[in-house]
Amino acid sequence: MNVVLTAVVTCVAILTGILTATAWLIWFERKFSGRMQSRLGPTMVGPSGLAQPVADLVKLLQKEDVVPEAADRALFDLAPKLAALCALGAAAVVPFSATVVGAKIDLGVLFLLAIGAVTVMPVFMAGWASNNKFALLGGMRALAQSISYEVPLVLSAMVPVILAGSMDVSKIVEAQTRDGWYLIDPVWLGLPAFGLFLLAMLAESNRIPFDIPEAESELVAGVTTEYGGMKFALFYLGEYVHTLVASAVASALFLGGWDGPFAPGLHWMVAKTVGLFVFVYWMRWSLLRFRSDQLMRICWYWLVPLAVALLLGAGAWVVL
């Protein structure tokens, strides 16, 4: 009984933290993009635009739940729930500080990569179940993108694993506290691996410049074309949480996680995660999207060979 109770309490605590953070980050992103692109509104709704996320949510809640007649009903309903669930599930093994961690498992990195690999299933499911050409094209693009970018993602995540000699995210952070952050030590290995991880992570969470499954200029709204109201909100939530968790993982693997002077570990971890998150959104509102063929070429011609070279380099660094 005790085990179950602990698990439930930990889950609730982490979910509350993540979801609260997401609400604040939506507010931040709306304002950020508003300032960058002169969008009127998000900076003015309520004091400092604080009412904007509330307004967004109320709008989504009010909408009628429309299901296309030709859709595969069961899969259509299941997809958004699974999308949100996959994104939240990954948060379980992220160490927010030396003590604040959902599940301490030896193979944390493997768990994260496995959940990341499954994330594409609900996206494709949505595209297929909608029984709509644009949605299906979006789903196909998501599949192609995820299966390609999985390779550099896994290989670049293996660099810190090899350097630390462990797949436990907490142990990787501890090793960095001891030896220096992998981003700068060794810099010729850490910096490119970090860059690669960040790129592949953006691709996996379908963020600009890699958001071709959604591509509103070509595919209406891609996989989410037929979704409205709370179902759309779940996809939206899943995307935010995925980016947030991925930022947290990147800071743990390369930026020393909770390591830092003066302040308690949790503060550093949150600061690094939010910093990366802001960087991701900065890119989102600055860059254009790639074409699908460019996306594949970049991955297979450049990222994969670079990732293999880095993996060999990491092996050599540890052995020599």
């Binding site: 595969d72 990569l113 496995a114 299933m121 029984n131 196909m140």
Partner: protein, 180 residues
Amino acid sequence: MADALFWLCAVGLVVSSIAVVRTRDLVRAVLWLALALLSTAGLFAYLDAPFLAGVQVLTYVGGVATLMIFGLMVTRRHTKAAAEANNDQNVIGVVAALAVFGVLAYAILNTKLPESSVPPPDTSELGRSLVHEYLLAFEAVSLLLLAAIVGAVVIARRRDAEAREAPGTSSLPSFRAEAD
């Protein structure tokens, strides 16, 4: 608690496996297969083999199932009605499945299994044995996989060349052809 996990995975595995062969919608069949593979990963985790569980999800659900859907999408027509399986060998299938089940059940029930559970293997030990003791077997398997990939490329290229000689009979229906 652990038993609940076992039953969840076991029942999930049986139900989803039956669903894989019973559903006529091929995409649904692959999605059921993904659930079956996930349940297998759950069983691995229950048996104290977390590494196998993780790799199972990463390669089978994230890789194989995804590739299957991909293959389905580029070789069949993409409308719902066309992506259907033809289950015209139902009877033979059931007989074969029952026969295999019988043999396996007979073998398992008649084998003396060790009473005490073996200590769970260490992941680092697994890695070491792969590249030390079983290095030759490991490399032989990679060579086999490489040969399979090269073979697939050769077959695909030949088919491409044939399609170019006889225009209009492309083996891969393109999305553009679907759109009109």
